[in-house]
């Protein structure tokens, strides 16, 4: 029963969030601020992790494909497809759920317990639209860019491993990452990323927005935001994979 109440409250909050904003100039400013907070500030961590994951996938694939009948460029193919199909969308989304989701829930939770959200309400401003909508727009716009950067850095990580660790000749790797490339994989990765962005920002906002109590409850909501976002990302991954890769 509590689950249905929560889903109902979430949908009502989303209805309030997606109403026409009071001022478009304010919305624009808020979106720019959020792009910096949820997007630009996450670039470094995404790039660092992606380059190492690209390198690790290259080494592990080489370790597992030791059959001389299999061409060496398959390592490039595997690295590319792993990054495109799973890592750069789903794994990066899980990473961002931890970084961005907890930050959104804590920010809104603190605003709630210090009555800043009530202050907005009394002023006649729609707090949901003012505070949550810019976060959702910023994430849906910037997370796909992070995904593309992650793919690029992962491929670079694999290339550097071939070059420096002598796993396979770099020319084979370059040939492999271009071999049998389906542009649909990019669309698939982008679609997943946009859905994940919506899940992370809206679920974390919901959990922060309705916090009651003090600092302890804000901390709990932040943890719950990460856990709930991660579980929903995994579920959405299953549904989207089944739907988009038929």
């Amino acid at each position: 029963m509590r689950l249905f109440t929560q889903i109902g409250a979430y949908l009502l909050l989303m209805r309030r969030t997606f109403t026409r904003p009071e001022k478009h100039t304010v919305l624009y400013t808020q979106v720019m601020r959020e792009i910096e907070k949820v997007g630009i500030n996450s670039i470094v961590i995404v790039l660092v992790i992606s380059i190492f994951v690209g390198a690790v996938i290259t080494i592990q694939t080489n370790y597992n494909i030791e059959n001389p009948l299999l061409p060496r460029y398959l390592i490039g193919v595997t690295v590319r497809d792993s990054l495109l199909l799973e890592f750069s969308s789903t794994m990066v989304a899980l990473l961002l759920a931890g970084k961005v989701g907890s930050s959104i829930a804590s920010e809104l939770g603190m605003m709630r317990v210090t009555e800043q959200i009530d202050a907005l309400e009394v002023m006649g401003v729609n707090p949901a639209s003012l505070l949550i909508l810019p976060k959702i727009i910023a994430a849906m716009f910037f997370f796909p860019i992070l995904c593309l950067l992650s793919i690029g850095m992962g491929l670079l990580g694999g290339y550097l491993t071939c070059l420096l660790a002598d796993v396979i000749p770099p020319s084979d790797y370059i040939y492999g990452i271009q071999y049998a490339f389906y542009p649909h994989y990019i669309t698939y990765a982008m679609t997943k990323t946009v859905v994940y962005a919506l899940i992370i920002t809206s679920v974390s906002s919901f959990l922060g927005y309705y916090v009651e109590g003090g600092a302890v409850e804000v901390g709990k909501s932040s943890t719950r935001a990460v856990v709930h976002s991660c579980v929903l990302i995994i579920l959405a991954n299953l549904v989207l994979t089944e739907t988009l890769l038929q």
């Binding site: 009071e22 001022k23 304010v26 603190m110 210090t114 009555e115 800043q116 009530d118 202050a119 309400e121 009394v122 002023m123 006649g124 401003v125 729609n126 003012l130």
Partner: protein, 248 residues
């Protein structure tokens, strides 16, 4: 004028507001007093619409606020200013941006006009030359003053203050009380102040409503507070041994 009629609010099986009715007059400081946990804050938050009632009516002049759609409520809310217990200033905005915020959201004024109004309000609450500071850099008293400046920046008809001098020393608390009184007289606002501070009652209470266990037990003026024979109110007003001795 604001009028509440027979309002009830229940949490689980406990009534926190039980058939409360009162009138809060324009141009006066109306005080809601009572012990901690008596239902003062729930009453104030119900009046501004932050808490939905189970039963009863809240009127702003001729408008039945408690039964309005949220869009219609927003129009009346733009005539309200509220000072929250902790100030509720936006941490990420400077003093100037905090006070300018309602103007940015709800008016179409130019930046110059908005800045003039912000500076006027900050001067009025005696917080000049602090425009660039952030809430974390302000003292408790300054935070309250900036919050008052933000509450009056749109020239509201209604001003609500939830424990305006909580956490302040008695002298600073009195300064804040006097400021609220001055602003009420100057702009002829309907002001409702929630407090349990007897200094505030005696200093600014044009009209006093006493709440006890969710019920309205008494109402009158600040002069009448001292001479009432209401037992609960007497216990509240003359809580200290010294006060009891003075009363005799």
């Amino acid at each position: 004028m604001i009028e509440v009629k027979h309002i009830f609010k229940k949490y689980e099986d406990t009534y926190v507001l039980n058939d409360v009715s009162a009138q809060f007059e324009q141009g006066k400081c109306n005080l809601i007093i009572g012990r901690s946990g008596s239902g003062k804050t729930v009453l104030l938050k119900s009046i501004v619409g932050l808490i939905d009632l189970d039963e009863g009516e809240i009127w702003y002049g001729n408008h039945l606020f408690s039964h309005m759609e949220s869009r219609a409520r927003q129009e009346i809310r733009q005539e309200m200013g509220m000072l929250f217990q902790g100030g509720a200033l936006f941490d990420s905005l400077s003093v100037e941006e905090n006070v300018m915020f309602p103007l940015n959201m709800l008016t179409g004024q130019s930046f110059r006009e908005k800045l003039e109004r912000v500076n006027f309000c900050l001067d009025r609450v005696r917080v000049s030359h602090s425009n660039r500071l952030y809430p974390s850099e302000l003292s408790g008293g300054m935070r309250k003053r900036v919050a008052i400046a933000r509450a009056i920046v749109l020239n509201p008809k209604y001003l609500f203050c939830d424990e305006p001098n909580s956490g302040l020393d008695p002298e600073t608390g009195m300064v804040i009380d006097r400021l609220i009184k001055e602003l009420t007289d100057e702009f002829q606002m309907t002001t409702i102040v929630n407090t349990h501070d007897m200094n505030s009652v005696l200093e600014i209470g044009d009209k006093v409503v006493y709440i006890h266990d969710g019920c309205k037990c008494w109402e009158g003026t600040r002069e009448e507070v001292l001479h009432t024979d209401n037992k609960d109110l007497n216990n509240f007003v003359f809580a200290t041994r010294l006060a009891k001795q003075i009363k005799g």
